[in-house]
Symmetry: C2
Subunit: 134 residues, 2 copies
DNA sequence: CGTACACTCTATAGTAACTATAGAGTCAAG
DNA sequence: CTTGACTCTATAGTTACTATAGAGTGTACG
């Protein structure tokens, strides 16, 4: 199949597929007489692997690593577990950060409930003050 | 004061300060005979305003907008409230996304607890499967 | 006076993971 | 033989910085 069909089937954009190829995540496919990329089922599976990893927010270099590992028969998967554990921790940290941010934004929002002039707006005032919130 | 001192006092890097100037968030300061930037207290306050906004994850264009508004005397602050409300909603959505991601990563991690070979690793298998988790 | 050193200047490139565009070529149907 | 849908490469843009090169400034010390 040509790149357009692969894009439709996978839900990735054509540019993204070409980008993954440039980045070495997908190998260069065979080409038609007119220099069009031709993909097989195997390429589609690999692309879907990448897509699932991306939907879990793994970085492309993490994905590259997983692809390499999964194609080295007999290698141990301890590193895979480590990577996932580390990733889980990062997500937890980010959630904590965002929750703190959420509280701060709420506090900020409580400083102005009406449509005042900016001179009187508690939000602008808080942002302008040396020791606003916290 | 020169840019180095402003950087130290504000906690922003020198490059960041120059970047904010290029982006029009800070106005061009006066220059010394040797072409060094010279800042006053006013510039420092403006920089701190930007910094506080950034710590709340407001984008630079949102900050630019707030700065413009806060310097237009008599203008109404309804837009400020709107912006903050919208921002709060975005943060809430991102938290939800991350929590769902967190559950998925935990499920994934449960597929492999040992140091197996990658052929047997449940994590790799899940990622390779058409309908792995969800 | 010279020089070493800390500081500053501009311009440019790199980061992550794409997205968008221009300008050209391919291919099938009418 | 031309129209239209598709594809190709190469390049620039996105966000908010960060890092670098190569040059100039300013001051303290010998």
């Amino acid at each position: 199949m040509k790149i357009g069909e692969l894009a439709k089937r996978s839900g990735c954009s054509i540019q993204t597929i070409r980008y993954y190829e440039r980045e070495g995540l997908l190998s260069s496919p065979t080409r038609s007489g007119g220099n069009f990329r031709l993909y097989d089922h195997h390429a589609e599976e690999r692309l879907m692997f990448i897509k699932r990893c991306r939907s879990l927010d793994l970085s492309l270099s993490e994905v590259r690593y997983l692809l390499t590992l999964s194609q080295a028969p007999g290698s141990r998967c301890g590193k895979v577990n480590e990577m996932v554990d580390q990733h889980i921790q990062q997500v937890e940290e980010r959630i904590d950060e965002l929750q703190s941010l959420h509280r701060q934004l709420h506090d900020l929002r409580n400083n102005c409930s009406e449509n005042r002039t900016v001179e009187d707006c508690g939000i602008i005032r808080s942002l302008a003050q040396k020791k606003g919130l916290n």
